[in-house]
C-alpha cells in the first residue's frame, strides 16, 4: 500500500507542480468560455445587429408588395432592441440603407435581373430579391441572389419581412385598412421552455440543455486531456528506461494503478478548483442578474442521485480510457508512434462527442438511448441525456453496469500489455503479437 502511495504521490505532485497545470487551471475556464459562449454570443449579436436593408427588390407583382417588404424591413430594423439600446446609450448608429424597390412588368424581370446582377458584382448593392405573381399565390415563392445569400440570419430576416408583408397584404385584401393590417402582422412570439421531471419543475429547458452540454463537454475534455497525459507518462518511463528500475521494486500493476489514480486525482483537483470558480461566479452573477432584473432563470436542480451518477460516470469513464491509453503507451517507443497508435482510442471518444449535437436535440431517441448504454460513449452521453430528460433507473443501472464491466476488462487487458510492453523496445507489436502478450503475460 505504501508503495502504491509513493507512486500516486509522485504522479500527482510532479504534475501539480508544473506550469502547465497552473496555466491550464487558470485559463481552462476562460478558454472553455471563449470556445463555447463566444460563438453563441456572436450569432445572437449578429442576428440583432445586422439589419438587412441594403438590397434591391425587383417587384413584378404589380401590387406594391415590394414597397411593403421594404417598409416592413425598415420598421423592424428601427424597432430592433439592440438599436434602441444603442440609441439610448448615445452610441452612433449606422445609417440604415434604403431598400431599393424596382417595379417591373412581368416580361421585364429578366432584363432587371441582369442589371441587378451587374450592380451586385460592381458593389452598388448587396443582392436582389425577385417577387412576382408566384409570390402572391399560396406557395409564396420568391428568389434571392446576392453576396450575402449564404448568411442564414440575413435570409431569415428577409424571409420574415416578406411573410409579414404578405400577411398584411392579404389582410388588406380582406378589407382591413393598411395601418391596422401592418400592426396586426407585426405580432411577436417568444416561448420560454421549462422542464418537468418526476420531482416537479426542473428549471428552464434551455438552461438544463446547456448544463448537460457543458457537463458532457467537460467530461470529454478531462478524459482526453488526462488520458493522453497518462499515455505520455507511460511513454516517458519506457523511453527513459525508468520503468525497469521501478518494476524491479514494485509490480507493473501497482505502477499502472498508481499512475491512473494519481493522474485522475490531478484531474479531480482541477475540476474542484473550477467548480469553486463556477459556484463563486455563479452566485455573484446570479445576484447581479436578479438585482438588475435582466434575466431570471433558475439553475437546473441536481439531485443527489444525479450527482452520484455523474461522479461515477466520470471516474469509470476516465479509468476506462486511462487504461486504454496506458496500454497504447506501453506498446509504443516514440511520441510519433504513440500519436498514431492512440487514434483508435481517440476515435471512440470522438464518435461519442459528434453525437452530442443530435442527441441534445432529441435526448429520448434511439440514438440517445443506445449511445447512453454503450460503454465507450456512455460516460459522455448519459450525463447529457440525464440533464435533458428523466432517464429510467434501469437504463442508468444497465449503462453503469456495462461501463464497470468494460472498465474491468480494459484494466485487465492493459495491465497485461503494460507488463510485457514496458520492457520491450523496437517495433510496435502486431495484432497477433499483442494477443500473445495478453494471453501469456
Amino acid at each position: 500500500m505504501d508503495r502504491l502511495m509513493a507512486v500516486i504521490k509522485r504522479e500527482y505532485l510532479e504534475r501539480v507542480r508544473t506550469k502547465w497545470f497552473i496555466i491550464s487551471t487558470i485559463f481552462g475556464p476562460v478558454f472553455l468560455a471563449v470556445i463555447m459562449v463566444l460563438p453563441g454570443l456572436l450569432t445572437v449579436r449578429n442576428m440583432r445587429a445586422i439589419q438587412v436593408t441594403d438590397f434591391r427588390i425587383i417587384d413584378a407583382t404589380g401590387s406594391g408588395l415590394g414597397e411593403r417588404v421594404a417598409r416592413t424591413l425598415r420598421d423592424r430594423a428601427e424597432r430592433d432592441p439592440a438599436r434602441i439600446a444603442a440609441a439610448e446609450a448615445g452610441t452612433a448608429l449606422d445609417q440604415l440603407a434604403e431598400t431599393e424597390v424596382v417595379p417591373t412588368p412581368a416580361d421585364g424581370v429578366a432584363a432587371a435581373e441582369s442589371t441587378a446582377t451587374a450592380d451586385v458584382m460592381a458593389g452598388v448593392t448587396r443582392g436582389y430579391m425577385v417577387i412576382d405573381s408566384a409570390t402572391l399565390s399560396s406557395t409564396g415563392k420568391a428568389r434571392y441572389a446576392g453576396k450575402n445569400a449564404s448568411s442564414i440570419a440575413e435570409m431569415n430576416q428577409i424571409e420574415a419581412a416578406l411573410r409579414g408583408a404578405l400577411v398584411s397584404q392579404r389582410l388588406e385584401a380582406a378589407g382591413i385598412n393598411s395601418v391596422r393590417a401592418d400592426s396586426i402582422s407585426r405580432v411577436r412570439a417568444d416561448m420560454e421552455t421549462e422542464r418537468i421531471t418526476s420531482n416537479g419543475r426542473g428549471g428552464s429547458g434551455l438552461v438544463s440543455a446547456i448544463f448537460g452540454f457543458v457537463i458532457a463537454f467537460l467530461l470529454y475534455m478531462m478524459i482526453i486531456l488526462y488520458g493522453q497525459n497518462i499515455l505520455r507518462g507511460v511513454l516517458e518511463e519506457k523511453t527513459t528506461r525508468v520503468a525497469e528500475v521501478v518494476i524491479s521494486s514494485i509490480s507493473p500493476e501497482t505502477l499502472l494503478a498508481g499512475k491512473v489514480i494519481g493522474v485522475g486525482a490531478v484531474g479531480l483537483t482541477q475540476q474542484l478548483i473550477w467548480l469553486g470558480f463556477a459556484v463563486g461566479i455563479g452566485t455573484y452573477g446570479m445576484a447581479m442578474a436578479t438585482a438588475s432584473g435582466a434575466v431570471a432563470f433558475t439553475l437546473p436542480t441536481v439531485t443527489v442521485f444525479q450527482m452520484v451518477a455523474l461522479i461515477l460516470y466520470f471516474l469509470l469513464g476516465y479509468t476506462f480510457y486511462a487504461a486504454l491509453f496506458a496500454a497504447v503507451g506501453a506498446m509504443c517507443s516514440s511520441q510519433e508512434e504513440a500519436a498514431q497508435a492512440s487514434q483508435p482510442v481517440i476515435m471512440l471518444l470522438v464518435a461519442a462527442v459528434i453525437m452530442v449535437q443530435p442527441i441534445m436535440t432529441n435526448p429520448t431517441g434511439t440514438l440517445g438511448t443506445v449511445m447512453s448504454i454503450l460503454p465507450f460513449s456512455s460516460p459522455i452521453i448519459m450525463p447529457l441525456v440525464m440533464s435533458g430528460t428523466q432517464v429510467p433507473a434501469w437504463q442508468i443501472a444497465t449503462s453503469l453496469g456495462g461501463l464497470l464491466l468494460a472498465c474491468l476488462g480494459a484494466i485487465w487487458v492493459s495491465a497485461r500489455i503494460y507488463r510485457v510492453g514496458l520492457l520491450m523496445t523496437g517495433k510496435r507489436p502486431s495484432m497477433k503479437e499483442l494477443m500473445r502478450w495478453i494471453r501469456y503475460a
Binding site: 504521490k9 509522485r10 510532479e14 516517458e236 527513459t240 525508468v242 525497469e244 528500475v245 500473445r436
Partner: protein, 320 residues
C-alpha cells in the same frame, strides 16, 4: 558450507525467436563479489531480470537468501542498477531519489538523510554546489549515472546487482564506483555485476561465471578458474624478428593460439605440449629473446578460449 546469497537452479527462458537462457544454475555465496561474464547476447541481462522477478523463468527456480524471489520482502533487500540507465528527466534529483527509496519501503525522512550522505560521498553535493536541487536533465551523463547508482543503494540492500556498471563511466567515476563496491563487500554485502570487460572482473571479483548462448561455460573462484587453465600459457617477447617468430608460432602444432599483445605474445599451448621444445625451437630461429615466461592466463584469455569455442550467436544484439 557458506550460506548462499543467490541460488539459481536450472532456469530457462525462451522468447519467440530464440532461447535466451538455457538451464542455467548458479550458486553465489554471501559476502562475495561475483562477476557475470559473457559476450553480448549471452543472456546476462535476461538472467538478471529473472533474478529480480521482472520476468519469470519458463522453468527452474531462483531463491535469494533462502527465500523464493517471488517474495516481495526479499526483493526489497536487493538493489538493482539496470544496464540501460534512465531517470525521470524533469524531476528534481532529490525527489527522484526519494521516490526510488520509497519504492523500496524506506520512509521519506530516512531517505533524505541517506541521500545527503551519498551525494556528499560521490561529490554531487559540495559546499559550492548542491546538484540535488537540479533537475535530472541538467546533469551530465556521468552525474546521472552516479545518481542512479545512489538510487540503487539507498535502501541499504544486502544483495547489489549491477548490470554493466562501468559502461560509459570515465576513469575517475569508475574508480569511485569500484571503491564503493569493495566497501560493500567489506560490510558483508553481496555484489553481483555483469560485464564484458575482463580486466575489471579480474581485479574485482572473488568468483566469476562465464556464460555464452544462455549456457554456463565455467564458474568458480578466480584462483580455481586460473589454476584450471594455468601452466600452458607463455609470455614471449623478442627484441627483433617479430615476424619470424609469429610465423613460426603459427606453424607449430604444439601451439593452440597466439595472441599478439603488441609488446609480447601470449602463447597458449596445447595441454600436453612441451614448453622446453618450444623454447628450443625459438632459440633455433636465432632471434634475440627478451622474455620467455610461463604465466597464469588472464581472464581475458580464458574467456576467449572458452567462449571462442561456443561463439556468439550471430545476429543477436543488445540485451545479454
Amino acid at each position: 558450507m557458506t550460506e548462499l546469497a543467490l541460488d539459481i537452479r536450472a532456469i530457462s527462458k525462451s522468447f519467440a525467436e530464440h532461447t535466451a537462457v538455457d538451464g542455467l544454475s548458479l550458486a553465489i555465496p554471501k559476502g562475495s563479489v561475483y562477476g557475470l561474464l559473457g559476450p553480448n547476447g549471452a543472456g546476462k541481462t535476461t538472467t538478471i531480470r529473472m533474478i529480480l522477478n521482472i520476468i519469470g523463468p519458463d522453468s527452474g527456480s531462483i531463491s535469494i537468501f533462502g527465500s523464493p524471489n517471488t517474495d516481495r520482502r526479499v526483493i526489497d533487500r536487493v538493489g538493482y542498477l539496470p544496464e540501460e540507465r534512465g531517470l525521470y528527466k524533469k524531476m528534481q534529483v532529490r525527489r527522484a531519489l526519494r521516490f526510488l527509496a520509497e519504492l523500496k519501503g524506506v520512509s521519506g525522512r530516512e531517505a533524505d538523510h541517506r541521500i545527503v550522505w551519498w551525494m556528499e560521498r560521490l561529490a554531487l553535493k559540495t559546499p559550492e554546489k548542491d546538484w540535488g536541487l537540479a533537475k535530472i536533465d541538467e546533469l551530465s551523463r556521468g552525474m546521472q549515472q552516479k545518481v542512479q547508482f545512489i538510487g540503487t543503494l539507498l535502501h541499504d540492500p544486502d544483495l547489489v546487482i549491477l548490470d554493466e556498471p562501468f559502461s560509459g563511466l570515465d576513469p575517475i567515476n569508475a574508480q569511485a564506483l569500484k571503491d564503493v563496491m569493495v566497501e560493500l563487500k567489506q560490510r558483508g554485502k553481496t555484489v553481483i555485476f555483469s560485464t564484458h570487460l575482463m580486466d575489471n572482473a579480474e581485479r574485482l571479483c572473488d568468483s566469476v561465471c562465464i556464460i555464452a548462448r544462455g549456457k554456463k561455460v565455467l564458474d568458480g573462484t578466480i584462483a580455481t578458474v586460473k589454476a584450471e587453465h594455468g601452466a600452458n600459457t607463455v609470455a614471449l617477447s623478442v627484441s627483433s624478428g617479430r615476424e619470424v617468430i609469429a610465423a613460426m608460432l603459427r606453424g607449430d602444432p604444439a601451439v593452440e593460439r597466439v595472441d599478439d599483445q603488441n609488446r609480447y605474445f601470449e602463447v597458449t599451448l596445447r595441454r600436453d605440449a612441451d614448453k622446453q621444445a618450444l623454447l628450443r625451437a625459438i632459440v633455433a630461429t636465432g632471434v634475440e629473446i627478451e622474455r620467455f615466461e610461463v604465466v597464469q592466463p588472464s581472464l581475458h584469455q580464458i574467456f576467449l578460449e572458452k567462449v571462442g569455442a561456443t561463439g556468439v550467436e550471430p545476429g543477436m544484439t543488445g540485451h545479454g
